[in-house]
């Protein structure tokens, strides 16, 4: 029975991956663009989940690190003709270095300083992009004259290939993060999240563990940003404003910051909720009302499902199918214990 219950989630993920693999053969290129955006954003949100949900830290600057990855990939690809994968690798290296460089002083200062420093990064990043115009293209940013991820003679469109690349990257990221969380580091992170003092007393190098989580999270966000920029073919300062960082954090919380599936749900909300809100309110005369619906939707999620949508569904399904037998089992066990304890 235990074996089956282990198999179900794995089977779920395998089916999801299978659907993902055949999806580009079924849906239009336009939908693939938005779905690829969901996959790349899910990657960034998953990185944030490692930080927020598993290590108990907050970053309000992941939008900027996402943007750093985007520019790190676009500049060599657009300006120097590098292949796209080399741009993604460079983005990974730079965002890892940035995570370490930002993390060391922030964690040394302790307290809420990591969160505060990342706010500064998120605010300054678009201004720096404009300032370094010769490299970044200034306010107009960088744009690809034609899609970077393509195989001309393969018979597949760029959108199909982009989706597959993003799906593969997301799968690798999910597996890597899952293994990280379930291993030794994951236990250390859990201890740090529960109580830093307790963790230190148990021999965990608290700052080092936090730094590793932040650096890994940054790297994942950087790679995600690189793929996102390559998919939408542009990297513009207006894409990486402060509110985008907030949106990523909101997606992590709303999707469920301790659930990998929640990362996909959160990313889908970023991409699709504004469009749905616009359709609901009624298009062009709606103006900022669509943003109001967006905000109200987010607030509703937080009130109704404080542990995120994935958490809420988990608990609902748990209540429906599992809790009753579990409670019976607990009652039975406690009865057994009472019987045992009262026995002579």
């Amino acid at each position: 029975m235990r074996h089956v219950s282990r198999l179900i989630p794995r089977l779920g993920w395998i089916i999801a991956l299978g659907i993902g693999v055949i999806l580009p053969l079924l849906v239009s290129d336009f939908d693939l663009l938005d779905l690829s955006r969901v996959l790349t954003l899910a990657m960034a949100v998953a990185g944030l989940n490692l930080l927020v949900g598993h290590s108990g830290q907050v970053s309000v600057g992941h939008g900027a690190i996402f943007g750093l990855g985007g520019y790190a990939a676009m500049i060599p690809v657009v300006s120097f003709g590098w292949p796209w994968w080399a741009g993604v690798l460079l983005a990974a290296v730079l965002s890892l270095a940035f995570g370490i460089l930002l993390g060391i002083p922030a964690l040394k200062m302790g307290g809420a300083n990591l969160g505060l420093l990342t706010i500064a990064v998120a605010v300054v990043f678009p201004l720096l992009l404009i300032r370094f115009q010769p490299l970044t293209g200034g306010t107009f940013g960088m744009f690809l004259p034609s899609p970077a991820i393509s195989l001309p003679d393969s018979g597949f469109t760029s959108r199909q290939l982009e989706f597959w690349v993003c799906l593969l990257a997301l799968a690798v990221v999910f597996v890597a993060l899952r293994n990280l969380v379930h291993g030794r580091l994951g236990r250390a992170l859990a201890a740090v999240r529960t109580s830093s003092l307790l963790a230190a007393a148990n021999g965990i190098a608290v700052n080092r563990v936090k730094l590793i989580a932040f650096a890994v999270s940054s790297t994942v966000a950087g790679v995600a940003g690189a793929l996102y920029a390559l998919v939408v073919s542009i990297a513009v300062p207006d894409s990486y404003v402060f509110t985008f960082s907030i949106a990523l954090l909101a997606a992590s919380v709303i999707g469920g910051s301790r659930s990998w599936a929640g990362a996909i749900i959160g990313a889908a909300i970023i991409v699709y909720l504004p469009t749905l809100a616009e359709a609901f309110v009624g298009g062009q005369a709606a103006g900022n009302w669509s943003q109001f619906v967006y905000a109200a939707g987010l607030a509703l999620c937080l009130i109704v499902a404080p542990s995120g949508i994935a958490g809420a569904v988990t608990s609902l399904l748990g209540r429906a199918f599992a809790y009753a037998p579990m409670r019976r089992a607990v009652v039975e066990r406690s009865t057994d214990m009472r019987t045992t304890s009262t026995a002579p």
């Binding site: 542009i234 298009g283 900022n288």
Partner: protein, 419 residues
């Protein structure tokens, strides 16, 4: 483990919801013109977000197209128009544009602002006409992007005119500049430089900033006595009213995109803009002087009938209305209703009237693919509202010297014409 199973179910449900809304590969475009005979035009505007004021244009475009449809369309063909929100997010604009091309089969796509510069390649690769409502110089590059055109004039031209005027009229001026932190400001500064003016103080602010006290102090401390401002609401109103509050009165040059009652005069207070200078090429629906103008009356009626939720008092709404009129003018002249046919007609438009243009101006195809080149004379709105302000200003030593020079040279009441 059961928790993981439930999470997998949640994920599967999300995927099912997402995929239910997707379009299948190979399905025909929903608005395919071959099927309906309609002319499909789509727009991506910032209907929400920091530049939502510009998104008001969409209501004007809708009103004009609906009025044309009600009158029988273009050669009997109806215009199928829809505007969607991009919140000034480049990724959403790219996504919207792809939807227009792939799903809606649009032949013309309308975009707004500087983010459209990066959005040009996909539309050009698809061979779909892109009309941008933006004054950035980069949008004039029709050689590299043959399917992209900009409607409003290049702000660099206006900057050059301002530069020339300041050089001639205030030769010793200490010029300051306040603009957006985007390419519009860069284009205008290039124009000012071409007109002989390099501002001593340049301040660039993001859209939507309302606290500008420190910037005003910086300008005053730098001794700026001629200030060129091209900023939108709420910044421009806050800037000018604070300057009025502290008694700082440099000569003001307000950029044409925001030189109107709704954006500037009302938020800043009439007293604080009295004596301000501005080049104009379009009418202001709130200006009492054009209240009985035939085109404005028609615009107000069309808005009331076809776009009653839109705000007909805003210049951005009128700009959208004028843009739609320009598109209809070109489509009416086009040999064939395709993206190529439309652009060919757009480039060869000649002396065409447009409801938003001030008297004496007309649309003409020309270099850079733009249609508006003229800044007809006698539209310097100097001292229009309060003559006493002029006298106060002239008490200044520099202005007395300028006044003497102008008196010797003979007063020129008109502004130079760009082309």
């Amino acid at each position: 483990m059961k928790k993981h199973a439930a999470a997998a179910v949640a994920l599967a449900a999300t995927m099912a919801i997402l995929l239910a809304g997707c379009t299948g590969r190979g399905e025909p475009a929903q608005g395919a013109s071959e099927e309906t005979g309609d002319i499909v035009i789509r727009a991506s505007y910032p209907l929400s977000g920091p530049l939502a004021s510009a998104g008001l244009s969409a209501a004007g475009v809708t009103a004009y197209f609906d009025a044309v449809n009600a009158a029988g369309g273009i050669d009997g063909r109806q215009i199928d128009f829809e505007a969607v929100d991009d919140a000034f997010d480049p990724a959403r604009q790219v996504s919207n544009n792809q939807q227009f091309v792939e799903q809606d089969d649009a032949i013309i796509v309308i975009n707004f602002g500087g983010i459209s510069v990066a959005a040009r390649p996909p539309l050009n690769n698809a061979g779909v006409a892109q009309i941008v409502q933006g004054g950035e110089t980069e949008l004039s590059d029709t050689e590299a992007f043959p399917f992209s055109r900009a409607y409003v004039p290049d702000i660099a031209w206006e900057g050059e005119l301002q530069g020339r005027y300041i050089t001639e009229t205030f030769p010793d001026a200490n010029v300051g500049f306040v603009g957006f932190n985007n390419a519009l400001a860069d284009s205008q500064l290039n124009g000012l430089e071409a007109g002989g003016i390099t501002p001593s103080t340049v301040i660039k602010l993001p859209p939507g900033q309302a606290d500008v006290a420190s910037q005003v102090t910086e300008l005053q401390a730098a001794g700026v006595d001629v200030l060129v401002v091209t900023q939108g609401p709420p910044t421009i109103g806050a800037l000018l009213s604070y300057m009025g509050e502290i008694g700082y009165h440099p000569t003001l040059f307000i950029g044409s995109p925001y030189a109107d009652f709704a954006s500037t005069v009302i938020p800043a207070g009439a007293d604080n803009v009295t004596g301000a200078l501005s080049y104009q090429w379009f009418k202001d629906p709130q200006n009492p002087a054009v209240e009985s103008d035939e085109a404005i009356v028609q615009f107000t009626e069309d808005m009331a009938e076809y776009s009653p939720d839109g705000d007909s008092t805003q210049t951005f709404t009128l700009t959208g209305y004028g843009l739609a009129s320009a598109i209809v003018s070109a489509l009416s002249e086009a040999d064939e209703i395709t993206s190529e046919g439309f652009l060919e007609a757009w480039d060869t438009v000649s002396d065409v009237e447009n409801p938003m243009l001030i008297e004496g101006a007309s649309l003409n195809g020309g270099p850079g693919g733009r249609l508006v080149y003229q800044y007809p004379p006698a539209h310097v709105r100097r001292n229009e509202l309060d003559p006493r302000r002029r006298d106060r200003q002239r008490r200044g030593r520099r202005h007395r010297r300028v006044a003497r020079r102008r008196a010797r040279a003979g007063h020129r009441s008109s502004c130079p014409v760009a082309h």
